[in-house]
Structures are given as structure tokens and as C-alpha cells.
């Protein structure tokens, strides 16, 4: 590999050589952030000089860069390439203003047989010349990206104190040829950076609103396969499907309660779109709203004790909250929580419940915004025009959302402080309705 090429080109070349055609190309829009935590992730030494199908250091660099919190050193600026702590010349790295340095190596692992590796990394503080973290993983060609994301999670936790969310998944809908008879819709799941896409369902009829179960093992979604909107649950490991809402009218916007016992949803069975909760084991339905307005797009507070939802009872869509009791029934009256502008919809709570993200419409543009629930202050995070469906990462530091770019539907991520934004390009059709999964593994090894 020609190390003098700019980092971005390097990543593009590496990806185009080794990744299958259906994978996403991840393009960094902002990198090398001013004021971010400086970190250099040195390319990992490959086993016996052979190139691996994945560039672990590049994946970790991209992961940390997307958060907006790090200032990652471009590979083309590196002139030393240690792969072991004992080979690090700390003076050199301090001179580069690199407070943190990550080195690593990939060794063949005979115990796993052919195609097995041992991946080791170390994170050093270059001022104190001390190791902050170091781990070793077993891997094969299929789990290299997974290990890279686990390394990112460990480094992130070590340097920020917050659990990383790189080893998580996203779910989304892909649509092709929608104005023709050849229209096709797909429900997909991928790694949090858009790689390793797996198609979970293909349909000639529209699919909408994927939502993750709290244990990350099921998706709820809306399908029009019977000619109108109905809600299904699907187990990811087996593909087993279950129809759970086919009431007259609209069945849409499913959201799992944090305790997994209920789904909130929007149904128009009683004449117009209202919020309901459905208890999964008893199939008991509780009606939560009752108004002539459209009430839709519910989302659970992480405590499970309230819902937010979109309602146009005030004339145009705004976001309201309402308390929910232990039976899934409403407590009291809805309280409006958005007051700026004429259009605020599709709210979602951050994992700690302190923020909501939503779509704020103004002057014919629809943008992702966040609002601090304590202070009531709102901040618009994007400069685009047709944003939809914001979803928080499991640790609440980033949002993934859908937007239009060059007349295509694409996914983008933005850090909650608005500092970094990344677009995931697509190879075919339009992509929309992303949902970021919960943590998939219990917290361990510092991640």
C-alpha cells in the first residue's frame, strides 16, 4: 500500500478492493476536528506481512471520528509505525501533539486452525508514557470488523468514561423503482457503520417503521403486504414472523416498551389515528389518546413511565408527552413539549431521557433537532432539507437519520453536539427509516 496517499483515498481503495458490491461506502465529511481528543491509531501489523480483508486501524479511526469527540491523526501524516508498546518513541508522538496512541498486531492463531487470528492492541498516553488499556481477541476473516468495533468501544470508554456504541447494529428500509410495477422494498440490518448488510425481508409492498426489541433480537415493523398497513414482529435469528396488529384502518409506528412487555402504536380503528399500547402476552389493547386530531409516532421514555407522541391537536404537528401506568394505560392529560415553529414531529427520547430528537419543519425544510427537556432549549443539528426518522445510538452521543442527497434517499449520522456528520452512501435505490439497535452484548471488558 502506498502510504503517501491521503487517508481518505486510502480508505476508499481498501474498501473497494475488499468489500462486496452491496456494502456501503462510508465517507467522512468532517475529520481531524479542532479541539477533539487527539489520537493516532497506527496501522496494525498484519500476520506475516499478508494483507487482511479488513483494515482494523482504519475502522477504529472512522468509528472514533464519527463521534465528533476525537481528532484522529491522518495516516499520511504518520512517519513511524510501531506495533508494540515497547517500540513506541513517545517523544516523537508528543511532538505530533498526539496525546493518545494505539498500536496493534495481528498474529496467526494456530489453535483456531487456518484463517484464525489473534488480534492484540494497546492504548498509550504519550505524555505519561503509560499504557491505559490493552486487550487481545480471537478472530477470523468474518469477525475482523466486529473486533475492530469492540476495540473502538474499549478506547472510547477509556478516554471519555462513556460506554461505546460501535458494536451495535442499525436497521433500515430500502426501496427501489417505487413509481413502477417493479417496485421492491427491503428490510435490512447492518453494523453501526453500514457494513455487513443483511436483508431480513423483501416485499413488493411498502415496509415502514422498523423498531428494535430491547434485547436486540426482534424487529417490529409495518408491512402493506395484505394491501394496507399492519404491524409484524420478526425474530432475527430465525426469520419467524408474527402478525400482531391488523385492526381496521391504519396500524403503524410500533415501539417496544423498555421492559419488553408492550408495544406502543398508532391505530385508526376508532375513526382516526390515536396512540394505543398493546400488551404482548395478554393482547390487551389500551387506548392512550382520544382526540379528533392525528395522534401518532409514539416513543417510550427510558423509564417506561411515559410516552411522547406527535399530535396536530393544536393545529399543526407538535410533540406531547403523557404518563403511562403499570397497565399501559394513560395517566392524566397530554402535555405539549415543543413550542418553536409550526412543525415538530417524530420525536425520540435519548437513552438517558434528558433529550429528545425530532424533525423540526421551517421554511420548507425539515431538519433534525434536539431539545434539552430540562432547559427547553432547542438546537438544529443539520443543514439539509428533507430529514426524517432520527434515532439515538445506544449511548446517546450520536443520531442516525434519513435524508436526501442528490435526489437519493441516504442515511447520515450526526453527533448530538452537532460537531461531526457522516453520510453513508448507498449502492442502489433509496434508504430510509433507520433504527439504531440497543447494546447487543452485556457490558464487559470495559465496553
Amino acid at each position: 500500500m502506498n502510504l503517501k496517499l491521503p487517508l481518505l483515498t486510502l480508505i476508499l481503495l481498501a474498501l473497494s478492493w475488499f468489500t462486496p458490491a452491496s456494502a456501503r461506502l462510508n465517507i467522512e465529511i468532517t475529520g481531524g476536528l479542532e479541539g477533539g481528543i487527539p489520537i493516532a491509531i497506527v496501522p496494525f501489523a498484519p500476520p506475516d506481512g499478508a494483507a487482511l480483508p479488513e483494515d482494523i486501524a482504519a475502522i477504529v479511526t472512522a468509528d472514533l471520528g464519527r463521534t465528533g469527540l476525537f481528532s484522529t491523526m491522518p495516516r499520511d501524516k504518520m512517519t513511524q509505525f510501531p506495533n508494540n508498546g515497547k517500540d513506541i518513541d513517545f517523544t516523537h508522538w508528543r511532538a505530533q501533539a498526539m496525546d493518545n496512541i494505539v498500536v496493534g498486531r495481528i498474529l496467526p492463531d494456530a489453535r483456531q486452525g487456518a484463517g484464525g487470528y489473534q488480534i492484540e492492541f494497546q492504548l498509550f498516553d504519550s505524555s505519561r508514557r503509560s499504557q491505559l488499556s490493552g486487550f487481545s481477541f480471537q478472530a477470523n476473516n468474518n469477525t475482523l470488523r466486529l473486533v475492530a468495533h469492540q476495540i473502538s468501544d474499549i478506547i472510547y470508554k477509556q478516554l471519555t468514561g462513556v460506554r461505546g456504541s460501535f458494536n451495535t447494529h442499525i436497521s433500515y428500509i430500502m426501496a427501489e423503482d417505487v413509481i413502477t410495477d417493479k417496485r421492491l422494498y427491503r428490510l435490512a440490518v447492518a453494523d453501526s457503520d453500514g457494513f455487513n448488510e443483511k436483508i431480513v425481508l423483501t416485499s413488493k409492498h411498502p415496509l415502514m417503521s422498523p423498531a428494535w426489541s430491547p434485547n436486540g433480537k426482534q424487529l417490529a415493523y409495518v408491512s402493506f403486504e395484505e394491501g394496507r398497513s399492519m404491524i409484524y414482529l420478526q425474530e432475527l435469528a430465525t426469520g419467524k414472523r408474527q402478525l400482531i396488529a391488523s385492526y381496521p384502518g391504519i396500524n403503524s409506528a410500533p415501539r417496544w416498551s423498555p421492559d419488553s412487555k408492550r408495544l406502543a402504536m398508532a391505530l385508526s380503528r376508532d375513526g382516526n389515528s390515536e396512540i394505543y399500547t398493546l400488551t404482548l402476552d395478554s393482547k390487551k389493547l389500551e387506548r392512550v389518546t382520544n382526540s379528533y386530531a392525528i395522534d401518532t409516532e409514539p416513543d417510550w421514555h427510558p423509564s417506561g413511565k411515559s410516552l411522547l407522541f406527535t399530535s396536530d391537536r393544536g393545529g399543526g404537528p407538535q410533540i406531547y408527552t403523557i404518563g403511562i401506568d403499570a397497565n399501559g394505560a394513560a395517566i392524566g392529560q397530554p402535555q405539549r413539549i415543543t413550542f418553536e415553529g409550526k412543525y415538530n414531529a417524530r420525536g425520540t427520547f435519548s437513552p438517558d431521557g434528558n433529550l429528545i430528537a425530532f424533525i423540526h419543519g421551517r421554511d420548507n425544510s425539515y431538519r433534525v433537532a434536539v431539545q434539552d427537556l430540562q432547559r427547553g432549549t432547542m438546537r438544529i443539528l443539520t443543514k439539509s432539507y428533507l430529514d426524517e426518522s432520527p434515532s439515538f445510538s445506544a449511548n446517546g452521543i450520536m443520531l442516525i437519520y434519513a435524508t436526501e442527497h442528490n435526489h437519493r434517499g441516504v442515511l447520515s449520522s450526526v453527533s448530538v453536539d452537532g460537531r461531526a456528520s457522516t453520510r453513508l452512501n448507498v449502492t442502489r435505490g433509496d434508504v430510509r427509516e433507520p433504527a439504531w439497535s440497543p447494546y447487543l452484548l452485556p457490558e464487559s471488558q470495559g465496553n
Binding site: 417505487v178 413509481i179 411498502p206 415502514m208 417503521s209 402493506f224 394491501g227 394496507r228 398497513s229 384502518g249 391504519i250 403503524s252 409506528a253 398508532a266 385508526s268 382516526n272 389515528s273 392525528i294 401518532t296 409516532e297 406527535t310 396536530d312 399543526g316 404537528p317 412543525y343 414531529a345 417524530r346 424533525i359 419543519g361 420548507n364 425539515y366 432539507y385 428533507l386 426524517e388 426518522s389 436526501e404 435526489h407 430510509r432 427509516e433
Partner: protein, 175 residues
């Protein structure tokens, strides 16, 4: 009654009356023909010839029935007065053909959030369905579905495309 008179004024009155009676007779004959036609229609419901006849009625460019897509302003479910008249013609058609069904499909343009747009499409479909009902269509003839922004007919991030997607379509079946 044909009368004879030499007085011009009286002759004009009689003339007018003759013409009125002739017109009334012609109208009665026309209605009788139509009734007979309807009866013979009813007798052949379900046949291929019948289906062709219905299809012809629904696609006759000079008939309001050939207009089965109705458009809406942004964020509105209000039916225009011109469209109300056309929907009235559809309602009469449904009333006189009780075995025919129609699906009222509601749609929205791409702006804003998807699930809200699903409900907005339904609001538009409900407005049209209500007009059909009050003007003679029976409940059992009517089905309603909203596709929100999921089934556009025009691509493009501009008002030209958006205005074509903010619509309600009538899809006939049962013949």
C-alpha cells in the same frame, strides 16, 4: 290537445303547450328507456359484456367518472368544489350499481415525517369517502386505505412532484 283558432295570441299559447307536452312525453320515454336498460343491466351483472360496459363508463373521457384522482393543497384534506361535483357523480354511479365496490386510496407528498403522512393520507381518503357516503354510496361498497408517502406517482424534490403525490385515488372493483 290540438286546437284550432284564428287568434294569433291564443295560437301561440296552444303552440307552447303542445311543445311542453311533447317535451314531457319525450322525457317520459327517455326515463322508461333508461329504466329498461338498468333492468337489463341488472340481469347481466357478472358477465364479461357487463364488465366491458362498466369499464367503458368509467373510462369515457366525456364522463366525470373517468376522473378518479383528486388533488389536495399542502397539509390539507379539503376537497375542492370542482372535485365535489365529480365525486358526486361517482356516488350516483355507486348508488345505481350496488354490486360495484371502490377502494378510496389516500396519499401524501414526501415532506415531513412518514407516520404522520400515513395519517394525513387517511384524512384525505376519509374526506372523499364521506362525500361518497352522503351522496348515495353504501358502506359495504366502500374500502379505505392510506399509503402515506410510500406509493408516490412522481419522483422529485419539488412542488411539481409533490402536488401530483398529494392525492386520493378511486380504484373500482366488483365487475
Amino acid at each position: 290537445m290540438v286546437g284550432c283558432s284564428s287568434d294569433p295570441e291564443v295560437r301561440d299559447d296552444e303552440q307552447a303547450q303542445m311543445e311542453a307536452e311533447a317535451a314531457a312525453r319525450a322525457e317520459a320515454e327517455r326515463l322508461a328507456r333508461e329504466r329498461q336498460q338498468a333492468m337489463s343491466d341488472a340481469a347481466t351483472v357478472g358477465s364479461a359484456a357487463y364488465a366491458k360496459k362498466i369499464e367503458a363508463m368509467l373510462s369515457d373521457p366525456s364522463s366525470p367518472l373517468s376522473n378518479h384522482v383528486f388533488y389536495f393543497p399542502y397539509d390539507s384534506a379539503e376537497v375542492s368544489s370542482g372535485d365535489r361535483e365529480i365525486i358526486g357523480a361517482h356516488a350516483e354511479f355507486l348508488a345505481s350499481h350496488p354490486e360495484i365496490m371502490v377502494t378510496v386510496e389516500g396519499h401524501a407528498d414526501e415532506r415531513g415525517t412518514r407516520e404522520y403522512n400515513l395519517a394525513l393520507g387517511e384524512r384525505r381518503a376519509m374526506a372523499v369517502e364521506m362525500l361518497l357516503k352522503v351522496q348515495g354510496a353504501a358502506d359495504k361498497q366502500l374500502q379505505m386505505v392510506s399509503f402515506g408517502e410510500e406509493r408516490p406517482v412522481a419522483l422529485g424534490n419539488d412542488e411539481q412532484a409533490w402536488s401530483l403525490n398529494r392525492r386520493v385515488e378511486l380504484i373500482y372493483s366488483g365487475y
